[in-house]
Amino acid sequence: MSTKTVKKPMSSKRKNLLEMIAIYTIIGIMFVIILYPLLWAFGLSLNPGRSLYGATMIPENWSLVHYEWLFFDPRSNYLIWYRNTLVVALTVSFLATFIVGLTAYAFSRYRFKGRKNGLYAFLLLQMFPVLMAMVALYILLNTVGLLDSLVGLIIIYIGGAIPMNAFLVKGYFDTLPRELDESAKIDGAGHFRIFFQILLPLAKPILAVVALFNFMAPFMDFILPRIVLRSPENYTLALGLFNMVNDEFANTFTRFAAGSILIAVPIAAVYLYLQRYLISGLASGATKG
């Protein structure tokens, strides 16, 4: 920039200004495109009426009636859904991280028969969406009596999370120097001790990412709960909200909007707060896996 200013100060300054205007205009347009739908949903949730028709983005007499309904109306299951989702999310997050940690440790630090084929199998399996096997999952859960139960849902989530996350964590374990566990072994530490006291603490960042992903997944996923869960008191938030609009789309939309604002805000807050870790976690998973 500085060399140009020396040559032609006036026109360069003007060009600079024009460019800045162009850049900020584009950014401004993007802001509108990004924020408009979100603010629109927020505005709608404040409408007193229930119908999408006639609801406006900036309601004249705004009210919190939908939020109140969700929390206090006896016909509302919202709090139960919230509790279900938290139960599922916490269990899945904890168990999946633990199992993934064990599996990744084995694949990273031991050379055993079937290791290589196992790695290939993981690579392949993580490409298949769980959705492809939905008929079988449905029938399987039905035969073992776990249909319409949160336990069934939890088991499927954990199983489905293993291949991809195990790769993520294995990649991270691979970067930790082997000398650490070898010196511990010489000092007489057993297998589990090396794992729990040396490797796990060092792998905390990636384990946190895995735990967070698995915690978030039940909040966002509606299709697996839709296949597994039947009765409204077992719904998770995503499924409950989905059914709310699915039943009579235009007639409960404002209520749906209120319900989704209540989950979008905390999730978005977590994501924005931890964005760096989440993105780097995803990135390392793809480049190392």
């Binding site: 800045m20 584009i26 064990l102 084995a106 079988a136 195990a166 990135a283």
Partner: protein, 439 residues
């Protein structure tokens, strides 16, 4: 002696301390698990193996043999035998059998290996040492045990089940338990390609899936790249704020935003038509009634949803490019386009290529947006898929709405083959594959 030949030449040079101890005998004795180990004088190990195998056989033989039988017949008495149960028991039996065979072979190999070592003068370890060694070798399996178990039942078993379904005649009119399923070979696949209705639908859906994957993902990446470079300009202020807003679409749960968009694009009272299109062009666009418009809307929404993640990645890479590159380019008198083409673009691509490829494969199976926006619709006359259905959402529709389980499974297999081929080529090129190869 087959294993003698298979051994390396270095072994034959070593002196046989116990030439009378015959590895072949050990291996042959192991046909009854444990006997080979006893021959090797590892009595406890032998006994443990024998008991384990005997227990497994006694406990499972009934289940496995009826299971495998059921897999062939799929039941005999309509209304009483449920073919689906037969099928799933059969698959479970198959899995158990594979495990059993694997352990069986390991048992023989183990006896053989020990026998050879004894031949070379190896002393059988005492009980404590033996336990320690066993624990050391078994430890990785203990670690992957729980994960493997879950994976088997939640991922592998259902996938196998689906594969088997593709070769049956399970559909709405021939559903268990009222009817007995039958094996039909490749009939479902040939139907898919020979019956006009199926073939046309398949070709339509597949071509839209490919277009969708390519266009939506590429636009997503292009927009992200454009914005990342724009905001990375040193003159731009409030970078943190801009970054936060740009990442918002990624942070808000996708199903919420897609439903919001689906309301905004509503033909009659959606905000897009009422507040944008009508005032400007004095018309309404049939976003949800017309397949082409639905597709356009879907692509726009996916770009909105998908660009933030790529944007965040690119921003990270851009901040890491050393300014030396650009200074050198300035000295050479390069213009902006040249700098972009020769410095920025290669840097971005090199650092993020695998992730970008993942974006393509994600969109290929992006069920949520297709289903939530318009449930794959609008309906198309004479075919089972809607105008905006991609393969995975078509499979969903066939399964849960039309109950054409056999066809859904057949299409799933084709989808799986596509994904697997893609994955194979992708992973062959990826770094970890090469690194793994060196072990």
């Amino acid at each position: 002696m087959a294993m003698k030949n298979s051994q390396d030449s270095q072994d034959s040079q070593e002196i046989l301390v116990n030439p009378k101890h015959n590895p072949t005998v050990a291996a042959l004795l192991s046909i009854i698990p444990g006997l080979g180990q006893v021959y090797n004088k590892r009595y406890i190990k032998g006994a443990a193996l024998f008991i384990l195998f005997a227990a497994f056989v006694i406990a499972m033989i009934d289940f496995i043999s009826t299971g495998l039988q059921g897999l062939v017949t799929l039941g005999e008495v309509p209304r009483e035998d449920d073919s689906r149960v037969f099928l799933s028991n059969g698959i479970l039996s198959l899995i158990f059998t594979v495990f059993f065979l694997a352990f069986y072979i390991l048992n023989i190999q183990d006896a053989l290996k020990d026998a050879k070592r004894i031949q070379l003068g190896w002393k059988v370890p005492n009980i404590r040492e033996g336990f320690r060694n066993a624990w050391d070798t078994a430890f990785p399996y203990v670690l992957i045990g729980p994960g493997l178990f879950l994976l088997m039942f939640v991922v592998v078993f259902p996938l196998l089940f689906m594969v088997f379904l593709a070769f049956t005649n399970y559909n709405l009119y021939n559903a268990p338990p009222r009817h007995i399923l039958e094996w039909v070979g490749f009939e479902n696949f040939t139907n898919l390609f020979t019956i006009n209705e199926w073939r046309n639908t398949f070709i339509n859906v597949l071509s839209w899936t490919l277009i969708w994957t390519f266009v939506a993902t590429t636009l997503q990446i292009a927009l992200a790249m454009f914005l990342a470079i724009l905001v990375n300009d040193p003159r731009v202020k409030f970078k943190r704020l801009i970054r936060t807003v740009f990442i918002l679409p990624w942070a808000v749960p996708g199903f919420v935003t897609i439903i919001i968009f689906s309301a905004m694009f509503n033909d009659n009272f959606g905000a897009i038509n009422l507040q944008l299109i009508e005032p400007l062009f004095n018309m309404r666009i049939p976003w949800l009634q017309d397949a082409t418009w639905t597709r356009i809307a879907l692509i726009m929404i996916q770009v909105w949803l998908g660009f933030p993640f790529v944007y965040a990645l690119f921003t990270g890479v851009l901040q890491g490019i050393s300014s030396d590159w650009y200074e050198a380019a300035d000295i050479d008198g390069a213009n902006r386009w040249q700098k972009f083409r020769n410095i920025t673009f290669p840097h971005l691509m090199f650092a993020t290529a695998p992730l970008l490829i993942m974006q393509y494969s994600f969109n290929f199976n992006n069920f949520n947006i297709i289903y939530l926006f318009n449930q794959g619709g609008p309906a198309v006359r004479g075919q089972t898929a809607g105008g905006s259905d991609i393969l995975i959402s078509w499979i969903y529709g066939l399964t849960f709405e039309n109950q054409q389980f056999n066809m859904a499974a057949a299409i799933s297999i084709i989808l799986g083959l596509l994904v697997a081929t893609f994955a194979f080529f992708q992973f062959r090129r990826s770094r970890s594959f090469k690194e793994e190869g060196t072990f």
